[in-house]
C-alpha cells in the first residue's frame, strides 16, 4: 500500500497509450475494439486513482513522485523544474472525479457515437484529454499545470469542432465555435502565464511543495483534537487510520511526547514511522535509522520550500520582492499573482468576462459537453485557485474581485438560461452559473465548499448532459423514423449514421435540440426521464440530493464570512447566489416540463425511444452518485446524518492539502431560504410551462405577459452579450485589422515601402548603373576600340588602290630604298 503512489505516472501513461493506439491504429480496428481500448484505458486510470485513494484514506502522507525518464525535465541556468507528480488529497480528489466520471462517459460514448465515421478519433481525443487533464491535476508545479491546461484546451478545441464537416453550414458553425473557445481561452492563458512568471520571479521555483514538506502543519494539531474527541467518545480514529500517515504519525508522536499516558500508542506509532520514513524518503533505504520527526517545516530553509511555504515565510518576514527598478511588498505581489490567476481561471472556467465560449462549445458531441465542458475541464480554473488557496487567502483584494466575478457569473448564467430553447444551451448556461458558484466560494475563502460543489456538480451536470444527449439521440432517431417511413427491422442499419447525418437527411428545419419540439418523453424514455429528474432536483438543490449540501455549504460559508469576518463579499455572495439558486431551480424545471412532461409537440418526439444500455447505465450510475454524492460532506449538526456519514469528511480529507479549508456549520435559516426559493421556483415553472405552453413559432408563455416579456427577450437574446462583444471588441478589432491590413500593410508597406522605396530605389540605382556606367563606360570602351580600329584601317585602306601601276611604283620605290640602304655603307666608306 505504501508503494501505491509510485503508480501515479501510470494514470497519465495509460490514457496516453490508449490515445496513441486509437489515433494510429484505430482506423483499422473495429468499432468494438476501439471502444474497448479507449474505455479500458479510462477505467484502468480510474483503478489507479482508486489505489491512490486507498493509500491516502489509509492515512498515507502526501507524496511527491518522480517518474522515470523525466528527471530534470526543464533545467536551464538556475531554472530547475522537474516532472514531478504530487499525490495528495486535492489531486487525488480531482483524479477520482476525472477518471470516474470520465470512465462513465467513455462507456456512454461507445453507444452515442456508434456509427460515426471518426469513431476511433473520438476515443483517441477523449483519452488524450484524460492524459492532459490528469497531468494538470497530478503535477507538482505550475508548469505541469500549464502543460495540462493547454493540452485540455487543445482537446476541447478538437472535440468542439469534431463534426466540422456536417452539411448545411452546421460544420462551419462547429468550427467557428471551436475556434472561439480556443481564442477566448488564449486570453485567459495570458493571465495564467503572467501569474506563473510572477510566481517564478518571486519564489524562484514553481513547485507547490517540495518532497518532505508538510503542506498543512496545522492539520496534525487539528486531527489531534479530533482524535482526542474520538477517544473520549470511544471511537479510535487513530487506530482505524493504521497510524501510517506522516501527518497522523507526527501528530501522534507529539501527542505521545506531551502526554505520557499514551506511551504505548507512541511506541507503536514510532515503529510505524520508521517504516514510513524509509518508504516516503526512499533514499535512506532500510538503514533502520528513523528520521527525526517534524511537525512543521521549520527545519527547511526558505529557498528549499515550495511556493506556498515560501509565501508564508515571506509574509511573516514582510519580504519585499525585487523587480529591478522597484520593489513590491509580498502582499502586493500575491494580489497581482492571484489576479492574473483569476484571469486564467476566467478563461478556462468560463467566468465573466470570458465565459462566452462555453455556450458555443455545445457544438461538440454531447459526451464531450458532459465530460469536458461541464464536469472536468472547466473546473480546472477552480482547481487551480483551490490549489493556490494560500495565495488567495492572503490576497483580500483579489478575493473580493473573485467573489464579484463569481456571483456576477452565477447570476448572468442563471438568467440567460431562463430564456433558452436549446436543451444543451440551457445546460451550458447552467454550467456557467454553477462555475460562478464555485468561484464565488473561492472568493469568500470557502475552498473546501468550492471543491465540494465541484465534485457534486460534476456528478449531476454530467448526468444532465448525458441525459440531454440521450434525449437528442432519441429525437434524431424518432425523426429519422418518420422521414423514412415506419418500421424497425429494415431501419436497423440506417440508424447507424443517424447522429451524424440526421440533419443532412431531413429537408425541413427540424432541430432535435429544440425543447419546443419535445414533450411527453417521460413515457418514451423512462430511464432517461427518471435519471434526468434526479439530476434536475440535485442541481436545483432539493434536500437531500447532492446539490443541496454543496450549494448550502457555499451559502452558509458566505453568510459566516459576512457575519464573523465582516467580509463584504460574503453578503454579496449570499444575496447573489441565493437569487442564482432560484434561477437554477426555475430553468431546470422549465426544461424538465418542456422536454418530458405534457404531450409530444413534434412527431419526432412521438417516435423517440429509449437509448441503448451503454447510454442508460452511466445515467443510472451518475444518478445514484447525484443522490448520495452530497453525503461525503454533511455538516455536523443536521438531523444526525453525521452519525451515519461522519461530519465534514470531505473537508477533513482536503485539509491535509488545502491549508485554508474549513468547514461551515449548517445554517438552518439559509438552508430553508434556499430550499424554499428552489421549491417556489419549481412550482412557478410548472405553472407557467405546464400543458405544452411553449411551441415552435409561438411566443414563449413569458412573452405573453407585458411584465415578463422584456425580461424574457433579454434572456433569450443572452443579454446581448455576444453583440456587445461584437461591438466593443470584435468590430474595433476588425477595424483595426482592416486598418493594419489595408493602410499599414497594403498601402504603406506594399505600396509605399515596397513599390516606392524599394522598387523605385532599385530602379533608380539600376538606371544609374545601366546608362552612364554600362552604356557609357563599358560599352564606350569596347566600341571606342572598334571605332578606332575602323578609322585607322579606313586610312590604311586607301593605300590599296587596285591599280597595278601603283603597286609597281611602290615596288620600285622599295627597291630604290633597299639599294640606297645597301649602298650607303659603300658611299660612306668611299669617302
Amino acid at each position: 500500500m505504501e508503494s501505491y503512489p509510485q503508480l501515479v505516472p501510470l494514470i497519465i501513461l495509460i490514457p496516453a497509450i490508449g490515445a496513441f493506439i486509437n489515433l494510429f491504429l484505430g482506423a483499422r480496428l473495429t468499432e468494438r475494439a476501439v471502444a474497448i481500448i479507449g474505455t479500458g484505458a479510462a477505467i484502468l486510470s480510474f483503478v489507479v486513482a482508486l489505489l491512490l485513494y486507498s493509500y491516502l484514506s489509509g492515512g498515507g502522507a502526501p507524496v511527491v513522485v518522480d517518474p522515470p525518464f523525466f528527471d530534470g525535465w526543464l533545467r536551464v541556468a538556475n531554472i530547475d523544474i522537474s516532472w514531478q507528480m504530487r499525490v495528495d488529497t486535492l489531486s487525488v480528489t480531482m483524479m477520482l472525479l476525472v477518471t470516474g466520471v470520465g470512465s462513465l462517459i467513455h462507456i456512454y460514448s461507445a453507444g452515442y457515437m456508434h456509427g460515426d465515421e471518426r469513431f476511433h478519433r473520438f476515443f483517441a481525443y477523449l483519452n488524450m484529454f484524460f492524459a492532459f487533464m490528469l497531468t494538470l491535476v497530478a503535477g507538482n508545479n505550475f508548469l505541469m499545470l500549464f502543460v495540462g491546461w493547454e493540452g485540455v484546451g487543445l482537446c476541447s478545441f478538437l472535440l468542439i469542432g469534431f463534426w466540422f464537416d456536417k452539411a448545411k453550414g452546421v460544420g462551419w458553425r462547429n468550427s467557428l465555435a471551436a475556434r472561439k473557445a480556443f481564442i477566448v481561452n488564449r486570453v485567459g492563458d495570458f493571465g495564467l502565464m503572467t501569474a506563473i512568471f510572477l510566481t517564478f520571479w518571486t519564489f524562484g521555483t514553481l513547485d507547490y511543495y517540495r518532497p518532505g514538506e508538510i503542506a498543512n502543519p496545522e492539520y496534525g494539531a487539528h486531527s489531534e483534537g479530533a482524535a482526542d474527541e474520538a477517544h473520549a467518545e470511544g471511537a479510535a480514529v487513530v487506530d482505524e487510520a493504521h497510524a501510517e500517515g506522516a501527518a497522523v504519525v507526527d501528530e501522534a508522536h507529539a501527542e505521545g511526547a506531551a502526554e505520557e499516558g499514551h506511551s504505548e500508542g507512541a511506541a507503536v506509532v514510532d515503529e510505524a514511522h520508521a517504516e514510513e520514513g524509509a518508504v516516503a524518503e526512499g533514499e535512506d533505504g532500510h538503514g533502520g535509522v528513523a528520521e527525526p520527526v517534524y511537525t512543521n517545516n521549520d527545519h527547511i530553509a526558505t529557498s528549499d520550500l515550495g511556493v506556498f511555504g515560501q509565501a508564508e515565510r515571506m509574509l511573516e518576514a514582510q519580504h519585499e520582492v525585487d523587480f529591478g527598478p522597484f520593489t513590491l511588498p509580498i502582499e502586493t505581489v500575491l494580489v497581482l499573482i492571484t489576479f492574473f490567476m483569476l484571469i486564467g481561471a476566467a478563461g478556462k472556467s468560463a467566468q465573466i468576462p470570458l465565459f462566452v465560449w462555453l455556450p458555443d462549445a455545445m457544438a461538440g458531441p454531447t459526451p464531450v459537453s458532459a465530460l469536458i465542458h461541464a464536469a472536468t475541464m472547466v473546473t480546472a480554473g477552480v482547481y487551480m485557485m483551490v490549489r493556490s488557496n494560500v495565495f488567495f487567502y492572503e490576497a483580500d483584494l483579489t478575493s473580493l474581485i473573485v467573489t464579484l466575478v463569481g456571483v456576477t457569473t452565477a447570476l448572468v448564467g442563471g438568467f440567460v438560461a431562463l430564456g433558452q430553447w436549446d436543451i444543451k444551451r440551457v445546460l451550458a448556461y447552467s454550467t456557467v452559473s454553477q462555475l460562478g458558484f464555485m468561484v464565488a466560494a473561492v472568493g469568500i475563502g470557502a475552498y473546501s465548499a468550492a471543491m465540494f460543489h465541484l465534485v457534486t456538480h460534476a456528478f449531476f451536470k454530467a448526468l444532465l448532459f448525458l441525459g440531454s444527449g440521450s434525449v437528442i439521440h432519441g429525437m434524431e432517431h424518432g425523426h429519422h423514423e418518420i422521414a423514412h417511413g415506419h418500421g424497425h427491422a429494415d431501419h436497423h442499419d440506417e440508424h447507424h449514421d443517424a447522429p451524424d447525418h440526421a440533419e443532412a437527411d431531413s429537408d425541413d428545419a427540424f432541430d432535435p435540440q429544440d425543447m419546443r419540439n419535445m414533450g411527453g418523453l417521460r413515457h418514451k424514455m423512462p430511464i432517461t426521464y427518471w435519471t434526468y429528474l434526479i439530476g434536475t432536483l440535485a442541481l436545483a438543490g432539493i434536500f437531500p440530493l447532492a446539490g443541496f449540501w454543496s450549494k448550502d455549504e457555499i451559502l452558509a460559508d458566505s453568510w459566516l464570512a459576512g457575519l464573523f469576518e465582516n467580509d463584504l463579499g460574503g453578503y454579496i455572495a449570499l444575496g447573489g447566489l441565493l437569487i442564482a439558486a432560484g434561477f437554477t431551480a426555475f430553468y431546470m424545471w422549465r426544461q424538465v416540463t418542456m422536454v418530458f412532461h405534457g404531450k409530444a409537440r413534434h412527431d419526432a418526439a412521438d417516435h423517440a425511444h429509449e437509448s441503448p444500455p451503454a447510454m442508460t447505465i452511466p445515467l443510472i450510475v451518475l444518478a445514484i452518485l447525484s443522490i448520495f454524492g452530497g453525503f461525503i460532506n454533511v455538516p455536523s449538526n443536521v438531523l444526525g446524518l453525521d452519525g451515519i456519514f461522519g461530519a465534514h469528511r470531505f473537508t477533513d480529507w482536503l485539509e491535509q492539502t488545502v491549508v485554508h479549508a474549513h468547514a461551515a456549520d449548517f445554517q438552518l435559516l439559509i438552508a430553508l431560504a434556499a430550499l424554499g426559493l428552489a421549491i417556489a421556483a419549481i412550482f412557478l415553472a410548472s405553472r407557467i410551462y405546464g400543458n405544452n405552453k411553449a411551441v415552435v413559432n409561438q411566443r414563449d408563455p413569458l412573452q405573453e405577459n407585458y411584465a415578463t416579456a422584456p425580461i424574457f427577450n433579454l434572456s433569450n437574446a443572452r443579454l446581448y452579450w455576444d453583440q456587445i462583444y461584437g461591438a466593443l471588441i470584435e468590430q474595433p478589432f476588425n477595424r483595426m485589422s482592416k486598418f493594419l491590413a489595408d493602410t499599414l500593410d497594403w498601402r504603406f508597406w506594399h505600396d509605399y515601402v515596397h513599390e516606392t522605396v524599394i522598387a523605385k530605389g532599385f530602379n533608380a540605382i539600376g538606371q544609374l548603373l545601366s546608362k552612364p556606367f554600362d552604356l557609357g563606360i563599358i560599352d564606350g570602351t569596347v566600341n571606342g576600340i572598334g571605332v578606332l580600329v575602323r578609322r585607322l584601317s579606313g586610312g590604311a585602306r586607301r593605300i590599296q588602290t587596285g591599280y597595278v601601276r601603283t603597286y609597281a611604283i611602290t615596288l620600285l620605290l622599295g627597291v630604290v630604298v633597299v639599294i640606297i640602304v645597301l649602298l650607303l655603307p659603300l658611299i660612306n666608306s668611299g669617302r
Binding site: Q800, T801, G802, Y803, V804, R805, A808, I809, L812
Partner: protein, 100 residues
C-alpha cells in the same frame, strides 16, 4: 673590244625604258613587253659581267631568266587573253577591283 661600262650603260637605259613602260603604259601587252625589256636588260648586264670576269655564272643566270621569261610569256599571255575575255579590254587601268 667594247668596254663593259658601255654594255652596262645600255642595260641601264633599257631597264629604265622598260620600267617607264611598265609604269606608264596602259596596254597590258605593252606592259608585258616592257617587263620583257627589263628582263633582257638584266640579261645584258649579266652577260656583260660574265664576260668581264670570265665566269660562267652570269651565263647560267641568263639561261634561267630566258627560260623563266618564256614560261612567263605563256602564263602572261594566257592571263591577258582571260582578262580580255571578261573585260573586252586589256587596259590595265580598268583592272582595279582589288581597291581597298
Amino acid at each position: 673590244m667594247v668596254q663593259t661600262e658601255a654594255y652596262l650603260m645600255l642595260s641601264m637605259v633599257l631597264f629604265v625604258l622598260g620600267t617607264l613602260g611598265v609604269l606608264l603604259r596602259r596596254n597590258a601587252i605593252l606592259v608585258f613587253m616592257s617587263v620583257e625589256l627589263m628582263l633582257n636588260a638584266t640579261n645584258l648586264a649579266l652577260a656583260a659581267f660574265s664576260r668581264q670576269w670570265g665566269s660562267e655564272n652570269g651565263h647560267m643566270f641568263v639561261f634561267f631568266v630566258v627560260t623563266v621569261a618564256a614560261a612567263e610569256v605563256a602564263v602572261g599571255l594566257a592571263l591577258i587573253v582571260a582578262i580580255f575575255r571578261s573585260k573586252r579590254s586589256i587596259d590595265i587601268d580598268e583592272l582595279h577591283q582589288l581597291e581597298g
